[in-house]
Each structure stands twice: as C-alpha cells, then as structure tokens.
C-alpha cells in the first residue's frame, strides 16, 4: 500500500512539472512584460523592478527561480495587486471556496447516494423519476444557466420583503444566509451525477449472483443492501468523484462568478481578466496539485471499496 502511494506521488510529479513548464513557457512567449503598462516608469525604476522579480535573467534561470520558490511554498508576488503575494491572495480566497465546495460535496454525496439507493430499490417510483429527472438536468442545464435561474427565482422573484437581494451590501461576509444558494447550486449539480451513477450501480449489483444468494438465505432487504450491495455499487461512484472534483472546480468558477463570492474561482477569473500572469500561474499550479491529490485519494478509496484491487 505505502509503496503504491509512493509510486503514485512519484508519478504525479512529472504531471505537475509538465503543467508548470507548459504554462510558464506560454506566459513568457507572449509579447509584453508585466510592467509595460500605460503608466510610464523611469528606466531605473524599471530595472529595479525587473531585478526584483528576476525578469532580467535568462528565461531558464527565471524558471529555476520560480521552481525553487515553489518548493518553498512561495507562489510569488502578484503583478497587479501591489503589495500582495499570491500566497496571501490564495489564503484569503481558499476558506470561501473550501466552505462552499466542501459543504456541497458532502451534501451531494449523502443525498446522491441516498437518492440513488432509493431509486434503484423502487424502480419507476416517484423517487426514481426524480433521480432520472435530476440526471437529465445535469446534462442539459449547465451550472451557468441553473445558477442565474436560481438567483432569479429565489433572490429576485421570491425575495423576502425586507431582504435586499442575494448579496450583502458590504460584500461577502461569510454568513450562512448568503451561502445557501451557491451551496444549493453545486449540490444539485453533483447530486445529479452521483444519484444517476449510484442508481445504475446498485441496479446492476442487485442483479448479481451473490445478492441472489443473500436473498435465498432469507436476509432482510435492509441487510442485503447495507452489508452486501452498497460497497460494490459505490465503486462506480468513486470513479466519477475524480472528474467530479475537477468539474466542481469548474462549476466553482461559474458559481463564484454568479454569486460574486470572493473564492478561488473568482480569483482565477479576475486574475485572467486583469492579465495578472503570476497570479494565474500560481492558481493553475495550486489547482493542479489539488486535482492530483484528489485523484490519489480516490484511487485509495477504490482499494477500500473493492477488495479485489491489490496494489
């Protein structure tokens, strides 16, 4: 097991390095440096600035400097937000993303698995139709349509008479009230996928031989499902958790734009539109590392769920 984890981490390194290298080269191949802005800067100041950010060195040296800083956990300085390091900006945005993304992921897992089980056990019942309907919504109503529609319905048409809309006047303050809609949006989208796959997985498992044996033994349905069927049925769910986690980051970019939340996704979009190169690069690196960690975690979950998998 440990040697497997070790090997997986070793394999993750070239991927992360490749992403960093490609992005880094792309950043530096485009014409224009971070300091040729509208504002005229005297040559001396410019030289100082460039020396400070190692921009006067050849590209490969800059790249090595960047890697060295990265190994020390330093993502560099933001080019647009003066006096802000990328680390500080991330530290500010990460809690928002984690609280919303984490809550909705847990909610989606619990609700999705429960709905999937209910739908699989009672095919063609109301629950089943709800799950199928949700699954279709996931295919046809993308987050950037569903989000604004939720806002339109709940925050504009149905808003409480003394409420002031969906955002506090002073901006995001982390109170639960303003987290309900974004969490609901992310949860609905993930429940759609998880519910559909859990349903299909459990239906397939319930028709397999060992379940028939369990039924023949006279075990109650409850025991059959909870003790025997649920683990193999969860394997396909685990296999979509990786792509789901990555698409949650995608959905988070959209969600945070729709609801104007100051999380990582909003930070990425802002950095991109402001052409804050170091910030974008830092965020790409960070998100890639998070994604790699997730896929490692999911491979380990596989081993727990499916005892046939040996490392």
């Amino acid at each position: 097991m440990w040697s497997y984890i070790f090997r997986r981490v070793l394999w993750a390194i070239p991927t992360i390095l490749a992403v960093i290298t490609v992005c880094y080269v792309m950043l530096h191949l485009t014409p224009g440096g971070p300091f040729d802005s509208e504002r005229q800067v005297s040559p001396a100041v410019l030289a100082n600035l460039q020396a400070k950010y190692h921009l006067d060195l050849p590209l490969w040296k800059q790249y090595l400097y960047y890697l060295k800083d990265l190994l020390h956990g330093d993502l560099g300085a933001s080019f647009r937000y003066a006096d802000w390091s990328v680390n500080a900006l991330v530290a500010q945005a990460l809690p928002v993303s984690l609280s919303i993304g984490g809550t909705s992921m847990v909610l989606a897992l619990v609700i999705g698995v429960a709905l999937g089980i209910a739908a699989a056990l009672r095919q063609n019942s109301t629950v089943d139709y709800v799950v199928m309907f949700l699954g279709n919504i996931g295919n046809t109503l993308p987050s950037f349509v569903l989000g604004p529609i939720l806002v339109l319905i709940f925050a504009i048409w149905l808003k409480h008479p003394d409420g002031s809309g969906y955002l506090p006047a002073g901006g995001w303050d982390g109170s639960v009230r303003y987290m309900i809609l974004p969490i609901a949006l992310l949860t609905i989208i993930n429940v759609a996928t998880i519910g559909r796959i859990m349903r299909a997985g459990l239906i397939e498992t319930m028709s397999s031989n060992f379940i028939r044996t369990a039924r023949a033994k006279g075990l109650p349905l409850r025991t059959i499902v909870l003790r025997h069927a649920i683990r193999p049925a969860l394997v396909p769910v685990a296999s979509v958790l990786g792509p789901l986690a990555i698409s949650s980051i995608t959905a988070a970019v959209v969600t945070e734009t729709v609801f104007a939340l100051p999380g990582l996704g909003k930070l990425i979009v802002n950095a991109a539109t402001n052409r804050d190169y170091t910030l974008v690069l830092g965020l790409v690196v960070l998100v890639t590392i998070i994604a790699m960690l997730f896929s490692l975690l999911i491979d380990l979950i596989y081993a727990v769920l499916d005892p046939r998998i040996r490392y």
Binding site: V145, I249, A291
Partner: protein, 304 residues
C-alpha cells in the same frame, strides 16, 4: 433447449418469407431503422435542425441587425408589438437577433471544435494503439496527464494569453477535448491491428503510416461517429463557460454563453436577457444528448 428453440424460430421465419424479399440489409440501414424508432432522438434531430436553420437564416430575415442600438427601445421587455419579440438589452440591441447570431458562434464552435478534437483523437489513439510498446505507453501517459489537469483553468490562462479570436477559442477547446476519443480509438485499434488484413498489408510491405491511416482508421469510423456526438455537447459547454466568464469571442460579436454572462448582473431589471439564450442553449444541449443516445443505441444494439 435454447438452441432448438432458436432454430425453430429461424426456420419459421424463413418459411414465412416470400423468396423475393430475402436480401441482405446493411448495418447502416439497420441502424437508421432503429434510430427512426427512437422518438426522443427523432424529435431532437428535428429540433436541432430547426435551431440550426433559425440561427443560419434568421438574422438575414429579421429587420434588426445584431449590433444595432435602438435608442427608442432600451431594456424593453418582450412584446408582440414592434420588432423586438424577445425584448432588448440595456443598449437597445434586439435579443432575438443576438440570440440567433450567438447561436451561430456556439454551433460553429461546437462543430469545428468537435471536428478538430476528433481528428486529434483519432490520430493520437490510432498511432499509439498501432505502434504499441514504449511509444504507446508514453502517449497514453500524456493522456493520463491531460485527464488530471483542471482544463478549464488552463483554458482560461490560454485565452488570457493568446487573445480572444474565434479560431483561438476553437483551438483551445480542441486541445482539451480529444482525450476520450483517443482512448476509445486506441482500444479499438488494438483489436483491429491483430486482424488478418493488417497482417497482409504488412506482408506486402505497406508503410506503417499508410496501414494506420488507410487501413485502420476507416475501420474505426463507426465508433468515432458515436463519440463525435458525445463530444459535441462538451465542446459547446466549454465554449459557453469561457464566453460566460467573458473570455470567449469579443463584443459586439456574441455567443449563447456570453449573452447569459451579460445578463447575470441585470436579472432584476431584464430577466428576458437570461431566459431566451438559456432556452436555446439548453434545448440544443438536450437534443444533442438525445441524438447521441439514439445513435449509440442504433449502432450498438447489444447495450439495450
């Protein structure tokens, strides 16, 4: 037991048929018949055709231009009177024409992006699967890497760096959407490669590149056709997300994603700016999905 019953059924079927009508049916005719029995798929095909026709020809027939500002009708709600049936935005531009023009961009990106991604996927998968060995494992390793990469974030980075031209949107999307096709094509290539006709081609000295592209690739087309329809909604979605975030084609040109993105801050004043482009986008996504399902069932009936 089972065998005997089947034999009887076949014998019965043959004796019932008049001799003249016995003729081979090609798998394509079979597939078409199955597809035309799938109501959702047929309905979606018609809907998709209607949407495409509307987007291509609608703007030519309508009185307003997509970038015309009508100062007499700023933020006007949808109405049957006059020409702004879907209402106007805060600059007085007609939402109906803008939705149709946006549809042109979205559908065109969907088409071109899919073609490009399928072309890359076929080439990559066929070469990897045919050559095998070290080349294969390196190429598939790269595919694995692409899977782990949060593509949207890198797409955002690329759109920021290279500008927001139409062809760049297509290229950026194609770069990140070929991996599924490549995997499937590789798997299929592995099975085809051991067939006799490939061995024969080897034996008479056909060069490897010709074996791959004129003997193997044509045999992949069935499965590729299915995967193409599965790729389309993904490509349209990616384009819409990029445009939604303001990183797609530039104003005054627009796409469904951009129109939806525009409407987000103004929903309390002009909700119709959100509803009409969303409706078109969702109908398109739904019908492409149903068409894809229909094609898969039609070509691969053992799944049913």
């Amino acid at each position: 037991m089972f065998f005997r019953r089947k034999q009887l059924a076949v014998a019965g079927a043959i004796s019932d048929l008049p001799l003249a009508s016995v003729q081979g049916r090609s798998p394509w005719v079979d597939a078409f018949r199955r597809f035309s029995h799938n109501k959702a798929a047929v309905f979606s095909t018609v809907l998709m055709l209607l949407i495409t026709l509307a987007c291509v020809f609608g703007p030519l027939l309508l009185p307003n231009a997509f970038d015309d500002t009508d100062w007499g009708a700023i933020s006007m709600p949808p109405t049957w009177a006059g020409t702004h049936w879907f209402g106007t935005d805060e600059l007085g531009r007609d939402i109906l024409v803008r939705t149709l023009i946006g549809g042109r961009i979205s559908l065109l990106v969907g088409l071109l992006g899919t073609l490009a991604s399928v072309a890359i996927g076929i080439a990559w998968g066929a070469v990897a699967g045919f050559l095998g060995g070290k080349v294969d494992s390196v190429m598939m390793r790269i595919v694995d890497m692409m899977y782990a990469v949060p593509y949207l974030v890198i797409a955002i980075l690329m759109m920021t760096l290279f500008g927001r031209e139409f062809y760049l949107v297509v290229i950026v999307i194609a770069i990140f959407s070929w991996i599924d096709t490549a995997r499937v094509v590789r798997g299929q290539t592995l099975t085809i490669k051991s067939r006799e006709f490939v061995e024969a081609a080897h034996a008479i000295g056909v060069p490897t590149s010709r074996i791959i592209f004129s003997h193997i690739v044509p045999n992949l087309l069935g499965i590729v056709a299915i995967y193409t329809t599965v790729t389309v909604p993904g490509v349209i979605l990616t384009e819409s997300v990029l445009s939604f975030l303001g990183l797609g084609v530039q104003e005054p040109m627009t796409s469904w994603g951009a129109l939806i993105g525009d409407s987000v801050g103004k929903m309390d004043a002009t909700p119709w700016m959100l509803l009409f482009p969303s409706l078109f986008l969702c109908l398109t996504l739904a019908s492409v999905n149903y068409i894809g399902d229909g094609l898969r069932d039609a070509f691969d009936p053992k799944d049913r």
